[in-house]
Amino acid sequence: MWFAITLTVVMGVSFFLMKNVKGGPFDSERALEPAIEANLNARYHLDWPLWRQFLHYTGPLNLDEKGWFGEGELAGSQPLGGVLTGDFGPSFRYRDFTVNDIIGQSLPISALLGTVAMMWALALGVSTGIASALRRGSGVDLALRLAATGGIALPNFVIAGFLIIAFVFLVPLLPVAGWGSLREMLLPGFCLGLVYAAYISRLTRTGMLEVLSQDHIRTAYAKGLAPRTVVMRHALKGGLLPVVSYLGPATAGILTGSLVIERLFFIPGLGLHFVNSASNRDYTLAMGVTILYTVLVYTLNTVVDLAYTLLDPRIDLAEEA
């Protein structure tokens, strides 16, 4: 099973890389008394050899309990526990929460924000992409392509800054930050979606141009179908293929949040943890989000493969049969 192998490799590499970075979760400006530091390390098993920590964390052996294995290094071990049973352990930084609690609280928020962003991105991206493709070479095409390039080139916190000035301070329409109501989602969703919109727009344009030049489209026009029908029913399906393959990893990225947008709009999502957990040396949380991301990317890529069969008849084995 490729999935299991990928996951094991990802876990192994990130675990050992992380543990080899200097500094630990308990370091602070105030150096700890050695006796107290030893107590802390013992409580979180950081005094164990790395291989044993890894086994304990990933879960083939739950080394916490007494019993099962008799003598030697593994005395007191028990099989199963840790990640294998879905337990990501306690967080080092947020000591009142388990990693499961944190992901459980913040993933839905990031996912909802991501969904709003994706809606913005798809609505803007696909419509401008189609418009661009249909009026190839015109002023509209040029303007839209410029805007798309701008959307990719400009960092979203710059755009967010302008939008906050415009819609919060100049025209007080929207709240400046926070999370809890639909109004609070509009700005961050838009800012987060903009880059994706720009990519989608370009991909749609390319895809549509390719499809529009194909025989079956010409046939459709020749049959006298309305241009609208041709575009929406025949061209769009094929033209969206590159967008769909881009959507897999993009969705994984967008659903797991964005550090910049979440910090700027004070949204308690998952994006914060991707960077912060590493700089805090919050080993368990960093591993948790890494594993989650791996699983999401893997799943969504599979979903994309499946979606291909819906959009391109040539790939769909089921229908051919």
Partner: protein, 707 residues
């Protein structure tokens, strides 16, 4: 894949997406239920934990002070101790025993009365190694407390205060050492030696006892045998280690069988770690007792004048024993996380916790059973975890937040002069550590030359801009009666002359200095200003090296730097919190510097009864430091709070500690009165809060009477 029909895939996708959106919507709905709080303040980050014993930071302190209350509370402006859970207290003649009388009628949120036993339990828990409290050393002033934290539970102990510890190695040998309490009772020069015939350990002036009736057979000396008690005190429990290592005194000549060892354990002559704690240490050796109901007695190693301040310091706040023990019974493997959940935690402070969302907010509501609930005005408080400077300021400016705790230096110019932004002195200093173990920084003349040319005024006025003050000592000004000794003044000429004398005329031959700091805009700007000054004034070339926070700490701790950016914020209002840093080998020294005379002065100050003489000793110590200059002082801190003008009871103080218990909203009349009393040039801004104010029941009565 072929088995999946497009319909089912489409349905699956739709269901999956719908599920996500629904989950979000449910969270959203649950969020919408929260009524706006009476007051919202930004805490700057998510707190690490609500467990008072485990917290260390400023943000944690703010929340813990609202939820819990210690023996004393602090006056919001002067920080003097006021009665809290203790109604009154008394210090013995010799300055070493504090007695506290616990208030009648103080209650936990689960209805239990707050008792002296609660404090005994909480202090023991705070010190216990399995709690692994960062700040445990703050209570090490208590007799026997240090050894209590360091006592390993996995060893076995003779049933006596002056006894040995024993442990059985993997191959069956039994090792014997002297436990820390026994070592402490021996004279410094007592030589620990094993009497091979009687199996007794003679120890000069004192004697160590082996468990009665122990038949261990012949003994042979271990690596620590023959060493002096004083030399062993640092690490009495190193049972493992072969040959020369370890601190054990003797070992059985032959392996002891499992059965014989078991027999020894069963005989009752030996106690395991936990039993030794409860049967010997806690009743006899640890200076924390409740001699009568409602009375708490704490015995110290030496008079410690600031001990009473520590009783108002949040790590010493009590926890509810029943709450913890029920959690331990119910969730044996994750009670540490369960007991602090809002639905489980039991507190005794002015507020209780209603809701907590990670990285979002903590909702506090007034605790109606708090003993002084009559003086609490606010019914609910939201504590936000905004980390981004610009976001918190935006929130404040749009009314979403009433107090923020810091501002970015970029916007200081705009904010200066507003009535809601008035920085005041803060008990912290910014300085550079110098690695004195490395040439040429081992030469005090070089360090003094470097210190003399730092452009402190330029840094304060052009980089920091908030009113930070140039600083010429380790401890900042403003600690009560203590006037810190400053480094001797000197001019550019002197700096050049010193460098010349040190063998680097005009900076010639001086290796480039690497200025080490953690990644941050402000630290980089300051380093650039100083680098330029060293270059221009002394002709020394400099390099800048910035490192990510944790790596920076590691580098500094291991002395792999030339000059390293540092800062220290006082824990309590006493110069000891600064001067104590630089004792030889201290964990926070991090310069390699040491001076026996300095250590002697600091140690003498710790046992000095007379307050004035004590400050004088600390002053002499710091004067030595300012002569040697292993640290180059730069500036002293100011607070950066932006506070809604209508908010009352938020007093400036040197520790920048604030107490929601005293906060209230002024009505328009009181606000107008306050504004007329403040300097006319302060710019008035939106006051936040309700126009009719929000007062505590006690304040309402007083106001009614006044009318």
């Amino acid at each position: 894949m072929a088995a999946l029909s497009p319909e089912s895939v489409r349905q699956g996708l739709a269901v999956g997406l719908l599920g996500l959106v629904l989950a979000g919507a449910v969270r959203l709905a649950s969020g919408a239920r929260l009524e706006p709080a009476d007051l919202v303040f930004n805490n700057g980050t998510e707190v690490q934990t609500l467990d008072p014993a485990s917290v260390t930071g400023v943000p944690e302190g703010r929340v813990v002070r609202a939820l819990f209350e210690g023996l004393v509370v602090k006056h919001p402006r002067t920080l003097e101790p006021l009665p809290g859970m203790a109604e009154r207290w008394e210090l013995s003649e010799d300055g070493r025993t504090w007695t506290f009388w616990i208030r009648d009628g103080a209650e936990w949120t689960n209805g239990d009365p707050v008792t002296a036993e609660d404090f005994v339990y909480s202090f023991r828990r705070f010190l216990h190694p399995s709690t692994a409290a960062y700040y445990a050393y703050q209570l090490w002033y208590v007799r026997g407390a240090r050894a209590y934290t360091r006592l390993p539970d996995e060893l076995f102990y003779a049933n006596s205060a002056s006894g040995c510890w024993l442990s059985r190695t993997e191959d069956g040998f039994i090792r014997i050492g002297a436990q820390e309490y026994a070592l402490a009772a021996l004279a410094d020069d007592a030589v620990l030696e094993l009497d091979a015939v009687t199996g007794r350990l003679a120890a000069g002036a004192g004697e160590l006892t082996l468990p009665a009736g122990s038949s261990l057979g012949a003994l042979r000396p271990g690596p620590a045998s023959g060493r002096r008690a004083a030399a062993l005190r640092g690490a009495p429990y190193e049972a493992t280690g072969d040959g020369e290592q370890g601190s054990w005194l003797a070992e059985t000549a032959a392996p002891v069988s499992e059965a014989a060892w078991q027999e020894l354990l069963d005989s009752g002559a030996l106690l395991d770690g936990p039993a030794f704690r409860t049967q010997v240490v806690e009743p006899e050796l640890l200076g924390i007792r409740s001699p009568a109901p409602g009375v708490l007695e704490i015995e110290l190693n030496a008079p410690t004048p600031f001990f009473i301040d520590l009783m108002g310091f949040y790590p010493t706040f009590p926890v509810n024993r029943r709450c913890l023990e029920e959690a331990q019974a119910r969730w044996p493997d994750r009670w540490e996380i369960e007991w602090v959940r809002p639905e489980n935690i039991v507190t005794n402070g002015p507020f209780r916790i209603a809701e907590r969302r990670v990285n979002d907010r903590i909702r506090l509501v007034k605790n109606e059973t708090y003993w002084d609930a009559d003086s609490v005005a606010l019914g609910s408080i939201d504590v936000l975890a905004i980390e981004q400077d610009s976001t918190m300021l935006n929130m404040y400016l749009t009314g979403g937040c009433d107090v923020i705790d810091r501002v970015n230096t970029n916007v200081v110019q705009e904010l200066m002069g507003r009535e809601d932004f008035q920085p005041t002195a803060y008990l912290g200093t910014y300085f550079y550590r110098v690695n004195v173990t490395k040439a040429p920084y081992d030469d005090p003349r070089v360090r003094r030359a470097l210190a003399l040319v730092i452009p402190r005024r330029e840094i304060c006025e052009q980089v920091m801009k908030m009113g930070q003050q140039p600083c010429f000592s380790l401890s900042p000004p403003g600690i009560g009666a203590y006037l810190p000794p400053t480094m001797r003044e000197g001019d550019l000429e002197e700096a050049r002359r010193l460098l010349n004398e040190a063998g680097f005329p005009g900076g010639e031959g001086f290796p480039p200095i690497e200025i080490h700091y953690n990644t941050s805009e402000a630290h980089a700007s300051i380093a650039q200003v100083i680098a330029l000054a060293w270059q221009d004034a002394l002709g020394i070339r400099t390099k800048l090296r910035n490192e990510e926070w944790k790596v920076y700490l590691d580098t500094q701790f291991n002395l792999r730097y030339d000059v390293s950016r540092s800062a220290w914020i006082g824990d309590y209002g006493d110069p000891n919190t600064f001067v104590d840093l630089m004792v030889t080998g201290g964990e926070n020294n991090k310069t390699g510097w040491g001076d026996p005379e300095y250590d002697r002065l600091v140690a003498a100050a710790a046992v000095e009864l007379d307050a004035e003489a004590r400050l004088e000793l600390l002053r002499q110590a710091e004067a030595l430091l300012m002569e040697a200059l292993p640290i180059l002082p730069i500036y002293s801190y100011v607070t950066q709070n932006v506070v809604a003008p209508r908010l009352g009871g938020f007093e400036p103080n040197v520790l920048d500690e604030h107490f929601p218990k005293f906060w209230y909203w002024m009505d328009d009349a009181e606000l107008a009165a306050r504004r007329s009393a403040q300097p006319a040039e302060w710019r008035q801004v939106a006051p936040h809060g309700p126009a009719e104010g929000l007062y505590s029941p006690a304040q309402q009565r007083a106001r009614a009477e006044a009318r």
